[in-house]
């Protein structure tokens, strides 16, 4: 194995561990910290099904953002949809042709949409970057990290597109490398600069996920304003520490 391949094997495992452990750690924290009070933003659903529907409209359609600002919505929604499509297309590099999932991954629609998604992603990201630069309100609230995050993903999308349209890499060898990571049967990684750049940036993105605003992805599901049921009169809501206060003075008896 080449030294380069060994380094990337280590980086891949490190990034995966940081991503999974880091996000799991954050999610555990969000679960562990209690929500002592009912603070649903109303009108709020009365049933669990209603909450699922509320999240569907938020996660899939970005409903609140749509109500807030159409430009950010269109750029943001296109970007995230492209991200999903690009992700689905990339599954071909990690799923064996023998897998029951392969027919799905290999669907023409998944593969071709995934390809064009790269352009849509750049369109969305450029729009978001432009808003950050040119809208005075958004510029004011932006930190260097907010710009860098967009530039990072722009660079990932651009390097991906370059590999598809300009400098091809050895896809077969790449897949062998990736599958080798799963099977602990490590293989060489092609050493094209664009591929290495693409992978390095993706690995970096994975590593900063749990320590950056990318936490909005899991965090979204833990906003009491959105997941709580609107039933405070019907069902008493009491946190452990709230109960402890009560137990101390006994005034709720």
């Amino acid at each position: 194995m080449t030294a380069l391949s060994i380094i990337y094997v280590i980086l891949f495992y490190a990034a995966m561990i940081i991503l999974v452990a880091g996000v799991a750690n954050k999610i555990m924290q969000y679960i562990r910290v209690p929500a002592p009070l009912k603070i649903a933003v109303t009108p709020a659903p009365l049933t669990r099904g209603g909450v699922a529907y509320r999240f569907f409209t938020e996660v899939v359609l970005f409903n609140s953002l749509f109500r807030a600002t159409k430009w950010t919505w269109i750029f943001g929604w296109i970007f995230h949809l492209s991200l999903v499509l690009a992700f689905l297309r990339h599954l071909r590099y990690v799923i064996s042709p023998n897998s029951f999932l392969w027919p799905l991954v290999n669907l023409e629609v998944v593969q071709s949409f995934g390809k064009y998604a790269g352009f849509a992603m750049l369109f969305g990201l450029t729009g978001l970057l432009a808003r950050r630069i040119f809208v005075d309100r958004v510029r004011y609230i932006s930190s260097p990290s907010d710009y860098l995050m967009l530039l990072l993903i722009i660079a990932i999308a651009t390097s991906g597109l370059l590999m598809h349209y300009v400098w091809h890499t050895d896809i077969v060898q790449l897949k062998a490398f990736i599958m080798g990571l799963f099977l602990l049967d490590w293989q060489n990684l092609p050493s094209d600069p664009v591929l290495l750049g693409h992978l390095t940036l993706v690995l970096f993105l994975m590593m900063i996920f749990p320590i950056s605003k990318l936490l909005h992805a899991p965090g979204l599901f833990f906003a009491p304003t959105r997941y709580q049921l609107d039933n405070p009169r019907e069902k008493r809501h009491l946190s452990d520490w709230g109960a402890a206060i009560e137990a101390k003075d006994g005034r709720n008896k």
Binding site: K26, Q29, Y30, V33, P34, A35, P36, L37, K38, I39, V41, T42, P43, A44, P45, G50, E58, F62, S64, L65, R67, A68, T69, T72, G76, R131, R132, V135, D136, R137, V138, Y140, I141, S142, S143, P144, S145, D146, L148, I211, S212, K213, H216, G219, L220, F222, A223, P224, T225, R226, P232, R233, K235, R236, H237, W241, G242, I245, R251, N252
Partner: protein, 511 residues
């Protein structure tokens, strides 16, 4: 008036250009040692010794107790969706009145001490060290938030600035920088029973006077009972209802509805206040103490039901938190909602046709309705999600012939705060209150121009007081704000009321 100008209203809303620091001078009076210690807070308006460590400890404590705060500190992506949603930003143009910028005052400290990126790369992620300047800025701008949650409606992640404001205010109070207005009021509730410091005998006098007023007007003896043991219903209402205008006309309305419905009810001198400023200062403990008065009063009086009068944040606390803080309510009649809103009661009476209504009594007015933020976005009235919007309008339409809504993006859950909520209804914040009222005043002026509206009805004591004060700044008159139950009071014809009034329209139930 003062050294600032009332903002211009426009036919269509204008998003101001971001300006730095134009409201940095605005801050409410600090609490002195007396009002701090009344609530168990230290200091006298100055930072206490060792305040930096205390701040970090308190923030850590909040993060471990409030999922909302922990999640909201992490999930903001700075998308900008909230930046043009706050009435204080729209009215002042101050950059730090954009909700995300307001949150960031605490978030940048959170990042510095509680996140990897902020500890090692503070500049990159906009993290800062605690300093007196940072704390002063927090004191100023966390008192330019009325905790109205309009930003939370539009945030893709449901981030609620009110949660951040409450956490920040509580931390500030615990390092010596409490707010005089709210602290003083909460102390009065503990000592006397209500925000206004109206003792029991004065309250009894006032209610007696009210009975006389109603009898003079209608010829009918409508009772306003106080501390009557064995009554079925305990009415808990904001103390402003006892004498402020137009609040008191609303109280007359509740009394007439109860009278016409033939129920027995009472007020309590102990729980003679619906408001709960514990919410505003972000103190679970204070909010609980204030709530428990209602539990104690209900038990002492032996009532079966609790009904709340017209008040926004009071209803938020009552609806969402009374069960949590002062429950369980197993000693009350479980066949009614606990607690119930006066509009739920009145709407039910109207639906059952037991009120004799003459809508023409309100024909001198053309109404619009201001959705109070805490009722629109933080609670519910009625059985269905969103019935907090339909029920007040249905009641207004049942007692008035002329009603028009304001522009759609300023009502329902997109309603604008009156500009005086969240513990800011104090004279030392008059500039902020005038400017923060801009979006609502603009929508009101437009519906006046387009539809000939003459009056705006509200169901919140703070809204009513705030509008009474700021309407004149915008070229309107203070009596253009009315209580919803004032309209009910005008239209209701009690049994035995002067025959001249009983001509044609008997019970009409539009809804």
């Amino acid at each position: 008036m003062a050294d600032y100008e009332t903002p211009q209203t426009h036919e269509f809303p204008v998003i101001p250009t971001v300006m730095e620091g134009v409201m940095s001078h605005s801050a409410p009076f600090l609490s002195n040692a007396e009002f701090q210690s009344d609530l168990g807070f230290p200091g006298d308006g100055n930072l206490i010794d060792g305040w930096e460590d205390k701040f970090k400890d308190l923030l850590g404590d909040k993060l471990s107790k409030y999922r909302s705060l922990q999640v909201f500190m992490d999930t903001c992506v700075k998308c900008g969706a909230c930046t043009d949603k706050c009435h204080y930003f729209l009215g002042t143009g101050d950059a730090k009145n954009m909700p995300v910028a307001r949150q960031d005052l605490l978030r940048k400290v959170y990042r510095r001490y509680f996140t990897f990126a902020g500890k090692y790369f503070p500049k990159l992620v906009g993290a800062v060290d605690l300093s007196e300047a940072v704390v002063d800025e927090m004191y100023s701008y966390y008192h330019q938030c009325s905790e109205c949650r309009r930003c939370a409606v539009f945030c893709p992640f449901g981030i609620d600035t009110a949660e951040v404001t409450m956490a920040a205010r509580d931390i500030l109070a615990q390092i010596g920088k409490g707010q005089k207005y709210s602290n003083q009021i909460i102390a009065k509730v503990h000592k006397i029973g209500n925000n206004l410091g109206l003792p029991g005998p004065a309250l009894a006098d006032t209610l007696e006077g009210l009975e006389e007023d109603v009898e003079d007007e209608t010829g009918v003896k409508v009772r306003f009972p106080l501390d009557e043991k064995g009554a079925d219903i305990l009415l808990v209402t904001p103390s402003a209802d006892f004498f402020a205008e137009p609040h008191v006309d609303g109280l007359m309305g509740y009394g007439k509805v109860f009278h016409a419905a033939g129920v027995s009810w009472t007020l309590s001198s102990k729980a003679s206040e619906a408001a709960n400023f514990g919410l505003f200062i972000g103190s679970y403990e204070q909010m609980r103490q204030v709530s428990l008065r209602i539990r104690d009063a209900a038990k002492e009086l032996g009532v079966k039901r609790i009904i709340f009068g017209e008040c926004g944040h009071a209803w938020r606390v009552a609806y969402n938190h009374l069960n949590t803080l002062a429950g369980p309510w197993d000693f009350l009649d479980q066949s009614y909602p606990i607690p119930q809103h006066i509009l739920e009661f009145t709407k039910d009476c109207l639906d059952r046709g037991i009120l004799n209504i003459d809508k023409s009594q309100n024909d001198d007015m053309t109404l619009t309705f201001h959705d109070s933020c805490n009722i629109a976005r933080a609670s519910r009235i009625g059985a269905e999600p969103g019935s907090q919007f339909t029920i007040p309008r249905a009641v207004i339409k049942a007692v008035c012939n002329n009603f028009y809504d304001m522009s759609a993006d300023t009502i329902h859950d997109a309603t604008f705060c009156c500009g005086g909520g969240g513990g800011l209804l104090t004279d030392d914040l008059m500039e902020l209150r005038v400017k923060g009222a801009l979006p609502r005043m603009e929508a009101l002026k437009n519906v006046i121009a387009d539809k000939g509206v003459t009056h705006m009805a509200a169901i919140c004591a703070i809204c009513k007081s705030q509008f009474t004060k700021v309407l004149p700044y915008y070229g309107m008159t203070m009596d253009q704000i009315v209580s919803v139950h004032q309209l009910v009071s005008n239209a209701i014809i009690l049994d035995g009321q002067g025959d001249a009034d009983e001509e044609e329209s008997d019970s009409e139930e539009a809804a």
